[in-house]
Symmetry: C2
Subunit: 476 residues, 2 copies
């Protein structure tokens, strides 16, 4: 493998360049000639597909169905919910063509308004509730042109769920159920630990009653919002005219939730686990979980290939590839599969065939293990489970070590300066938060964790009474 | 069930209104406040999901991977392939925002150009070929504002495959392999018979060397193009700078294919199979394959519900729902599930429990059958298979009966007047085809079937020498 095909910078020396190289060289994604946009290549899309499959199965059990709504949103819809309109207006891209009534059409930055217009016609009585719909689609937010692969782009893929309930209690309950499903996707599938909590008033979704969130912390000392689940209250129902006839024969406003995560999750997993050799993928989302590299010499070729096929068959429960290319050396192949993040490499040479053994190499630590070929299924299963667990544990340890609890402004500034995730007593006021952002050169509140310790004393900044412990950090 | 919840017009009296009612009342889709757009509701999206799952599995076996490319296409890309640009320009919607270079951006009407720009960077040598990529995405074609649910809308969902090969032969071969996979989706999953063939010069895809197609014929006497698979030749490769270093160490232009089908397939299945009572769905794509309606009386309720649960468990290989709603009568429920197209209804009343029997009712014919409850699994399986086959056979018979073979202009005009699918000897010239369209008030060539009988004599219209038998019809 040529040197330029490997990663040429170190993770801890130039993380943005390292991150970009890991993604480009593992062929997860590519830059696009359209500024601010990215191409998701097959290796990256396969991860997204696994996330979609996992999540679809989970939400189907909750009674959520998938659907598809138009990408075009009439200007008048945006304007109906004032706070929502204001929140999104700087990022909205409009289409040149107007509709037949001469109305401007936006490309959806989120679909609350277009969906709730339909909901207002579909919901008549309590029999129609709860209504639980999700869609997988592309989203346009015309942000900065400086694309960060998977993390920030003008078009991205996501899912957005939009549910309607008879009561506030049901709505509250399912907002939290979804956040828990999100946690499973991120912690159990992607092996990225998260902190669950509520957004502050300032960071709340535009138009929501409250926003719950899961926040991860990246190795470069920046927080990354991984997904949010909102209780929208009754505000959208009111302006979109969604009401239902209750069992009491009276008309009521329903309660609504919305929730979304995006392809950004892939970026978080890549940045968290990968290393100076390239991509490290959690086995549960790896498109190839194990690659068999036969070591070919002319005389023993047949026996080695036969063994490789046998091992592949034995491993039919996993996603396994045999690398049969003859134009590359084994060493070249080892490097390539490391760059591409395949969790387990299985080497088979003539000596291994003789001794009825196999060499397993794990991607995360590089450890080698020689095993009996008869035990390959059990060994690979254990190894994949172990990699999944140990990359999570490593990330969890980093998260814990990066968290600094402070109770005064000096320590707060120092910790932010060291790119830490800072837990501090906070008053919750928007003005105070603006001031913190200003003074720290960009630190924002990430969440008010559900897991709250007892609080006494004053806000870390304004010295008014503190309401809750809150996480602050610079962020993506 | 109230009369207005059922279908209020007959299929053979007002097909457009009937078609719209079937879809709206089965909740497959809905009109949207944005002119020319539609909402795909959960019942409709579940069918699309089944089509996606089936097709994804098939193309994965052919070595095709899924990916995702930007929706925005720079104006300059369109212009590169002149015929392609001209073919799509009337339908293109542009974004108000320009990119950083001041370039206009289109919403993709198809993705050849944006994908091939990336391909030009990804393909270096024969080792990178064949490259086979597919994407599932939304497409924008700013046509008439008069939406026809699933059949014609300004935004729709589709898949588009884009492959690159070393040789023309490989390309030809896989163009046909994909068409055969398309046939399977449509005939085997959706039970809609199709005719396979080539498009004429006039109907060929803009920029392709040739276009293969599958064409269905709707009960209102209009043909419907169900999917196309193109050999693009080397034209796009040339203008997008895609070349590869061959095994001969020389630079070569590759061959390319592209192929697509859309959510329109759902519309074709609905129109073909449904009847005056509402939706009829092919069992293989029905989101609910059998619905159990327990007949509840207070005294025997427990026994009936217990039996319903037992039957559902027995049928765990199928998608089965028990309708437990107490606020509706059994008769109301029967009607509702007929409107919604569930292939099999299972009625269980107290007498049935006593006699250890069940009543099965098939949606397509309305036939009732009393069976032993111990045989429900086998009986339901047979019934679903039988429905799948018999709705296909019925549609096939209609297609055959609608086809008229003619060899002179008088008969041609008569057959088109009777809304038939006309097979006629044709010269293949674009001018002649324009004339036919003009004189018939809109009949176009549908395809030159692969299945060609010997041809002699002259073109049905211009009297020049006929080249091939060609299908003509009015179309969607």
């Amino acid at each position: 493998m040529a040197k330029e095909d490997g990663i040429t910078v170190k993770k801890n020396e130039d993380m943005p360049e390292w991150y970009s190289q890991v993604i480009i060289k593992a062929e997860l994604a590519d830059y696009s000639p359209i500024k601010g946009c990215m191409v998701i290549r097959p290796n990256g899309y396969a991860i997204w597909q696994k996330i979609m499959d996992f999540f679809n199965e989970r939400i189907a059990k909750m009674g959520v169905s998938n659907a598809y709504f138009p990408m075009f949103i009439p200007e008048a819809f945006f304007k109906k919910e004032a706070e929502h309109a204001e929140g999104f207006s700087p990022e909205v891209a409009w289409v040149e063509k107007k509709d037949e009534e001469g109305q401007k059409l936006a490309l959806r930055p989120t679909s609350e308004t277009i969906m709730y217009d339909s909901y207002s016609r579909w919901i008549r009585s309590w029999r129609d509730l709860p209504l639980r719909i999700n869609q997988w689609c592309n989203i346009v937010r015309w942000e900065v042109s400086d694309v960060k692969l998977f993390l920030r782009s003008r078009e991205f893929l996501w899912q957005e769920g939009h549910c309607v309930y008879e009561t506030e209690q049901e709505c509250d309950k399912e907002v939290m159920m979804i956040l828990e499903e999100y946690r499973k996707v991120v912690e159990e599938l992607l092996a990225v630990p998260v902190i669950l909590g509520k957004k502050t008033e300032k960071e709340r979704f535009a138009g929501a009653k409250y926003t719950t969130t899961m926040e991860a912390f990246m190795p470069d000392g920046k927080a990354l919002q991984m997904g949010t689940s909102h209780n929208l209250g009754q505000g959208f129902a009111k302006v979109f005219g969604i009401s239902f006839l209750g069992k009491d024969e009276k008309s009521h406003l329903p309660w609504q939730s919305s929730w979304g995560f995006s392809t950004r999750l892939i970026g978080a997993a890549v940045m968290t686990h990968s290393d100076d050799k390239g991509l490290v993928l959690p086995p549960r989302v790896a498109p190839i979980q194990a690659v068999i590299v036969p070591i070919i010499f002319e005389k023993t070729k047949d026996a080695v290939l036969k063994e490789a096929e046998k091992v592949k068959k034995e491993l039919h429960d996993f996603e396994v590839k045999i690398d049969l290319r003859e134009e590359y050396s084994p060493g070249w192949k080892f490097n390539e599969w490391e760059v591409k993040g395949v969790p387990v490499r299985i080497e088979i040479g003539p000596k291994d065939v003789e001794k009825k053994q196999l060499v397993l190499v794990r991607r995360d630590t590089g450890e080698k293990k020689i095993i009996k070929d008869s035990e390959v299924k059990m060994e690979v299963k254990q190894l994949l489970d172990d990699i999944q667990k140990s990359i999570y544990d490593k990330a969890k340890k980093f998260l814990e070590e990066s968290t600094v609890k402070v109770d005064n402004w000096d320590d707060f500034m120092k910790a932010i300066g060291k790119r830490k995730l800072v837990l501090a007593p906070f008053c919750g006021e928007e003005e105070c938060e603006d001031w913190i952002k200003d003074k720290t050169g960009g630190a924002t509140s990430r969440c008010i964790p559900f897991n709250q310790e007892k609080i006494a004393g004053n806000c870390v900044q304004c010295k008014n009474k503190a309401k809750f412990w809150t996480y602050f950090a610079k962020n993506y």
